[in-house]
């Protein structure tokens, strides 16, 4: 599937994802095992996926 089908924030400033919305596409660098690699949301098609946002590394909570 093409990335064009995903609504990107740059294209629509008013759009914010919520329940029943298509998950907004992203790709970003990530630490995966001992590697740094580019991660794409669409790598995870076919699986249930949890996006676990957290404020910052090195916090007590």
């Amino acid at each position: 599937m093409s990335e064009d089908l995903f609504i990107k924030p740059a294209q629509s400033k008013e759009f914010y994802a919520t329940r029943d919305d298509k998950a907004p596409f992203f790709s970003a660098d990530a630490v995966d095992g001992s590697e740094i690699r580019r991660i794409r949301l669409d790598e995870f098609k076919g699986k249930w996926l949890v996006l676990f946002f957290y404020p910052s590394d090195f916090t007590a909570v």
Binding site: K8, P9, A10, F15, Y16, A17, T18, R19, D20, D21, K22, A23, P24, F26, A28, D29, A30, V31, D32, G33, I36, R37, I39, L41, D42, F44, K45, G46, K47, W48, L49, V50, L51, F52, F53, Y54, P55, S56, D57, F58, T59, A60, V61
Partner: protein, 125 residues
């Protein structure tokens, strides 16, 4: 224990039901690397730490605290066809309930497979 350490502890169960986790903060990949190296519970972390340096991901999921440039404590549950089925946003100072994340994943899978509703406090025995 931190939230991430708690997710790391339950991750084998998550993987076992065929689900995955991406942890995302606005820290750099360098910060993520040092954090992993210096935190024993995260040495063998099985899931990626994503660096949202541009804030683009946090903004598009509406979980960016623009005052601090950090993401909220927020969890999104995305189906195999990449639709958001649930989200939870917690206060900054309050850690999430990680077993509930696992329960919700199991319940979402059960509901999708059977079409059955899932009652309050339902758990797979």
């Amino acid at each position: 224990m931190t939230e991430l350490a708690a997710v790391a502890a339950i991750y084998p169960n998550i993987k076992n039901i065929g689900a995955e986790v991406l942890a995302i903060s606005t820290d750099s990949v360098h910060s993520h690397q040092v954090y992993k190296q210096t935190t024993p519970a995260l040495h063998d972390l099985g899931f990626p730490l994503v660096s949202d340096r541009t804030h683009e991901i946090s903004r598009s999921y509406r979980v960016l605290d623009s005052a601090t440039g950090t993401a909220y404590r927020a969890s999104f549950f995305i189906s195999p066809d990449q639709v958001i089925h649930a989200k939870m946003i917690y206060p900054k100072a309050i850690g999430r309930n990680i077993p509930e994340h696992f329960r919700l994943l199991q319940a979402l899978q059960y509901n999708k497979e059977t079409g059955q509703a899932v009652p309050v406090d339902w758990m797979i025995r």
